[in-house]
């Protein structure tokens, strides 16, 4: 059964159906979107059952897409190649869960419901597609296709400065895409498929790009090629994805987009779109340019550390609750980068674990910010005090989310960060890629994280009750909000207590990643 294709096609087909339903049936669109995500969730369960951890790429679907002879430089070949491994499976399942919760969270969207849910479904397909595609061109198409729906979702349904934020988001992330496109063109013209012997076939297949022998001798990005074009290509590709992650100093689009986006879109943005950036680094940048990655490893790790500290400091200074959470995302994604840079099995596994864990926790955090915003239309931290007295269940969920995010043992965030620190500290001894002082400085980020979360708790939730909005009645969580927050809270607890559940999938990938990666990079260096 072609699980992945179904997973991508379901939202597209339902979006097409929705397109032909007249706008006046306002309430059918949310139900259609919900049906799509539930169907996807069922498929995911089947996928997890079928998946054999440690067996490499699975559920492979491969069809020819573009195959063209291009005169003097051989044949161009792009494929519809999708598959899952220990890296993509957790992220795909995460995507489906988050899309389901985002759909529930969108239930009461008032304006143009038809357009909203159609865009949400297209976004869904694009996100899942980019996590599954192993053909660079196919990936790029899905990657780009996230931008347009996101632009309209922020721009039409966002907050007061939505127009500015959406244009900024689009331009920034497109800049990243163009960097990726530049390298992609160079790469496919430098690589030939080993499956064809009689003619030169330029392939977009990422698996082929990950092997030194497939580079055409004398081509610009060949390992033995003159000049340092491979370093340039690495830098461009890395920045392309780093904008999406986002890594300081390429992060400035993120606070604006997050603050202005409606709650469900903030959730998707933080939980999934940022992961696409980190996923791109793990899937494309590092495996294809291992030599350059080693060359730049301290830069990559350094950017991670700067993101951790800078994000945390900004979060500490934020007056707006959503902005605080946005900056905490920058800080937490910095850990992912640090783990990747260490290139140890623990570091890579920790980076992937942190990606999943941050997906769950940041979704929860933005939902929490959304709960209070829905009631008072005010997000300024200083305008609240003593919320715990009026909304005790809401406060408990906030405490869970905050503690999970600051890395308290027992929650998933802890496992990810601990693994990353293992990896980063070991790196100095094993492969000497990350200088020892970097993880030491990064621990400061944990401290700052505890600082801004506890301070926010103290300011907003404890103390005497006061609120600067025009009314005094605050209702506690509704059933719909429980439905969104409870599964996420349970998931972060589950992965915090039983990390093996997730590590069984991630670890084999991380182990093969590091072993083949070093083999490749040592073989490759002349």
């Amino acid at each position: 059964m072609p699980y992945i294709s179904f997973l991508i096609l379901i939202p597209i087909v339902i979006a097409l159906v929705a397109l032909f339903i007249p706008t006046r049936y306002k309430f059918i669109f949310s139900r259609l979107a919900l049906a799509a995500t539930i169907l996807q969730l069922v498929l995911c369960v089947g996928m997890i059952v079928h998946f054999q951890p440690g067996e490499g790429l699975q559920l492979v679907e491969r069809h020819s897409w573009i195959s063209l002879t291009l005169n003097n430089w051989g044949r161009l070949q792009a494929e519809y190649l999708v598959a899952l491994d220990g890296l993509s499976l957790p992220l795909v399942v995460l995507s489906v869960v988050i899309m389901l919760i985002a759909t529930i969270s969108s239930w009461h969207i008032a304006k143009s419901r038809k357009g909203y849910f159609i865009l949400l479904l297209i976004l869904n397909a694009a996100i899942i597609g980019s996590f599954c595609a192993l053909d660079f061109l196919l990936f790029y198409v899905f990657f780009e296709f996230m931008l347009l729906p996101m632009f309209f979702l922020i721009g039409m349904w966002g907050g007061p400065r939505r127009e500015y934020a959406s244009v900024k988001f689009f331009l920034y992330t497109l800049l990243g895409s163009i960097f990726i496109l530049i390298v992609m063109i160079g790469l496919y013209l430098s690589v030939q498929s080993p499956e064809s012997t009689d003619e030169v076939v330029h392939t977009f297949n990422v698996l082929h790009m990950q092997q030194a022998k497939n580079f055409i001798a004398g081509s610009l990005l060949d390992f033995t090629g003159a000049g340092n074009w491979r370093l340039w290509a690495f830098a461009l590709l890395f920045i392309g994805f780093a904008i999406k992650v986002p890594v300081v100093p390429f992060h400035t689009w993120l606070p604006d987009a997050h603050v202005e986006a409606p709650t469900p879109i903030s959730v998707i943005l933080a939980a999934l779109l940022l992961k696409v950036g980190a996923y791109g680094i793990l899937r494309f940048v590092y495996p294809v340019f291992p030599d350059a990655a080693i060359y730049f490893s301290d830069w990559v790790a350094g950017m991670g550390v700067v993101s951790i500290i800078y994000g945390a400091l900004n979060a500490l200074a934020s007056k707006d609750l959503k902005r605080l959470i946005a900056y905490s995302s920058v800080s937490h994604m910095g850990f992912v980068l640090l783990g990747i840079a260490s290139a140890t099995t623990e570091g890579i596994a920790g980076a992937i674990y942190q990606m999943v864990s941050h997906g769950i926790i940041s979704a929860m955090l933005f939902l929490i910010a959304g709960v209070v915003y829905d009631r008072t239309h005010d997000r300024l931290i200083e305008n609240y005090s003593g919320l715990a007295l009026k909304m005790k269940y809401y406060t408990s969920f906030t405490v869970i989310a905050f503690f999970a995010s600051l890395g308290l043992p027992g929650f998933s965030g802890f496992i990810g960060e601990v693994l990353i620190f293992f990896g980063a500290f070991q790196s100095n001894a094993i492969n000497n890629l990350v200088p020892l002082w970097m993880p030491v400085v990064a621990t400061l980020g944990l401290l700052l994280g505890a600082g801004y979360y506890l301070w926010t708790l103290q300011r907003m939730f404890f103390g005497p009750f006061s609120i600067r909005a025009n009314f005094t009645e605050l209702t506690d969580l509704t059933a719909r909000e429980y439905l969104m927050l409870l599964p996420l809270a349970l998931l972060t607890l589950l992965f915090g207590i039983l990390p093996q559940l997730l590590l069984d999938f991630i670890n084999p990938f991380a182990a093969t990643f590091t072993s083949t990666w070093f083999l490749f990079s040592t073989n490759a260096t002349p």
Partner: protein, 489 residues
């Protein structure tokens, strides 16, 4: 050549150019129909013109030249390459008429569109400077008149500017061609005689001649530095005419440009590196077009600058001066035709509704007229070069060819063009995005009257959208066909 030979050549050539013959005949019929018809004049003429274009396309396919055939004693040549572009011009003509089916237009409007398409077809086949001059004038004079068809002050001004600058361009062409004739003794730019003479000639004269000739062609192509007429003309001319001018004369210019540059390049033995020259022209067209478009407040003026940048992208494939690049350019030309017509069709729809002197006039219209707005957005996304549209595939092909050219030659300017050209997508996105921004993100002003959306208008949009997306999903079919087209000067 004796008179008998000339007549023999003429009668042998005629069956090869049946589409052009049909267009010439139909122009006369159009004129007569316009004189004698009383009722439903424009409807009849529109349907007649579309029928003529379809017949011409049919005849072109029927007489498709498999082998290059020299026509009219070497003045023209029918081959795969020119036939491909003739097909594009005929399609462009038919689509132009389709854009404004419901509009009342005078006889001359249909007449000149047929005449310009015929001129473009001749131009595509020209192998001789005199032939280039005559067909270029046929294209130009028709375009000058069409540009004035809004019959208001601005339109007349635009038309006159176009005419004056066009005349200078023609003068340049004549001057350059006569200089070249003085150097080489021939007008036939594919001949060995021209190549031999150029190799031995003094560099300075040859360059002056070449640049004068190319100036006239760049004018048609709306490329830097001969682009200055475009904004005024685009802003003031009727939208279907702009769609037409931005596609047919431009692509006709492209064909001649490719042929002439290959002739001047002398297989790389020319005293000047044409690769760098064209790279610089492409680079500057892209930069000037895109950066000027940023500051525009009038949508059509913005599209004029975007069209200058698009000329740059069309030139990107030509810089390689080899078949791979020319094939990529041909793909780009098809995509460009489709997306440009799509954008102007949608724009024309909104213009019929209310006047659009500024982007703010689009405010909130996307909610009222969803289908045309969606068509406009897809067209603009395609022009930007984002997937899933043919615009992306076309850019991928031309820039792939450019990468190949760079790795072969190692010239810095080619790399600069590669990186700048692709990065310009972001600049382009910013100004193209203004229209979707106002269409969807801004509130609909109160009291906006609704508009009846006709089925035929939507059908044309739908066909174009499907074509653009289909070319993205399955570029193999078109590119496979293009790849079989060989082209030797």
């Amino acid at each position: 050549m004796s008179v008998a030979d000339a007549i023999a050549s003429f009668s042998a050539s005629l069956p090869r150019v049946l589409p052009e013959v049909v267009l010439a005949a139909s122009s006369c019929v159009t004129l007569l129909l316009g004189l004698f018809l009383k009722k439903n004049k424009s409807a009849v003429l529109a349907i007649f013109s579309i029928a003529v274009f379809l017949v011409a396309i049919g005849l072109l396919v029927a007489t498709w030249p498999q082998q290059p055939v020299s026509l009219f004693a070497g003045m023209f040549r029918a081959d795969d390459f020119s036939a491909f572009f003739r097909l594009l011009f005929l399609t462009g003509g038919a689509l132009t008429i389709c854009i404004a089916l419901q509009k009342e237009s005078s006889t001359e409007y249909y007449l000149f569109i047929q005449a310009v398409v015929a001129g473009a077809c001749w131009l595509a086949m020209s192998m001789h400077f005199v032939a280039v001059l005559v067909s270029l004038e046929l294209v130009s004079i028709g375009s000058y008149i069409l540009a004035g068809f809004a019959f208001n002050k601005a339109s007349s001004e635009g038309s006159l500017k176009y005419f004056l600058m066009g005349s200078v361009a023609t003068a340049c062409l004549i001057y350059g061609a006569s200089l070249l004739y003085g150097i080489t003794g021939t007008f036939d730019f594919s001949s060995q005689q021209l190549a031999d003479a150029l190799l031995q000639s003094q560099t300075g004269f040859m360059l002056i001649a070449a640049f004068l000739i190319l100036a006239a062609i760049l004018f048609k192509l709306t490329a830097f530095p001969f682009h200055l007429w475009a904004p005024d003309v685009y802003q003031s001319a009727p939208t279907p005419v702009v769609a037409f001018i931005s596609v047919v004369p431009k692509l006709a210019g492209l064909v001649v440009f490719i042929k002439l540059v290959l002739a001047f390049n002398l297989f790389g033995q020319a005293p000047i590196n044409w690769k760098s020259v064209i790279s610089a022209l492409a680079l500057l067209s892209i930069l000037v077009g895109n950066l000027s478009a940023l500051a525009q407040t009038n949508p059509k003026r913005m599209l004029a600058y975007s069209s200058i940048a698009q000329a740059g992208f069309l030139l990107v494939g030509v810089t390689t001066l080899d078949l791979a690049g020319i094939h990529a350019t041909m793909f780009y030309a098809v995509a460009f035709l489709l997306m440009n017509v799509l954008v102007f069709t949608a724009l024309h729809f909104f213009e019929k509704w209310k006047s659009l002197p500024a982007f703010t006039n689009f405010s909130g219209l996307g909610r009222v007229a969803f289908v045309p707005a969606l068509g406009l957005v897809i067209g603009l996304v395609a022009l930007t070069g984002l997937p899933p549209t043919a615009g992306f595939t076309a850019k991928l092909f031309v820039f792939s060819a450019l990468w190949g050219s760079w790795t072969d030659s190692g010239q810095f300017i080619v790399l600069l063009l590669f990186v700048t050209g692709l990065l310009n997508t972001i600049v382009a996105l910013y100004f193209y995005l203004k229209i979707p921004y106002y269409l969807f993100l801004k509130a609909t002003p109160p009291g906006t009257a609704s508009i009846k959306i006709t089925f035929t208008g939507n059908l044309l949009l739908l066909i174009l959208v499907i074509a653009i997306v289909w070319l993205f999903l399955n570029p193999g079919l078109l590119m496979g066909w293009i790849n079989r087209i060989t082209f030797v000067l």
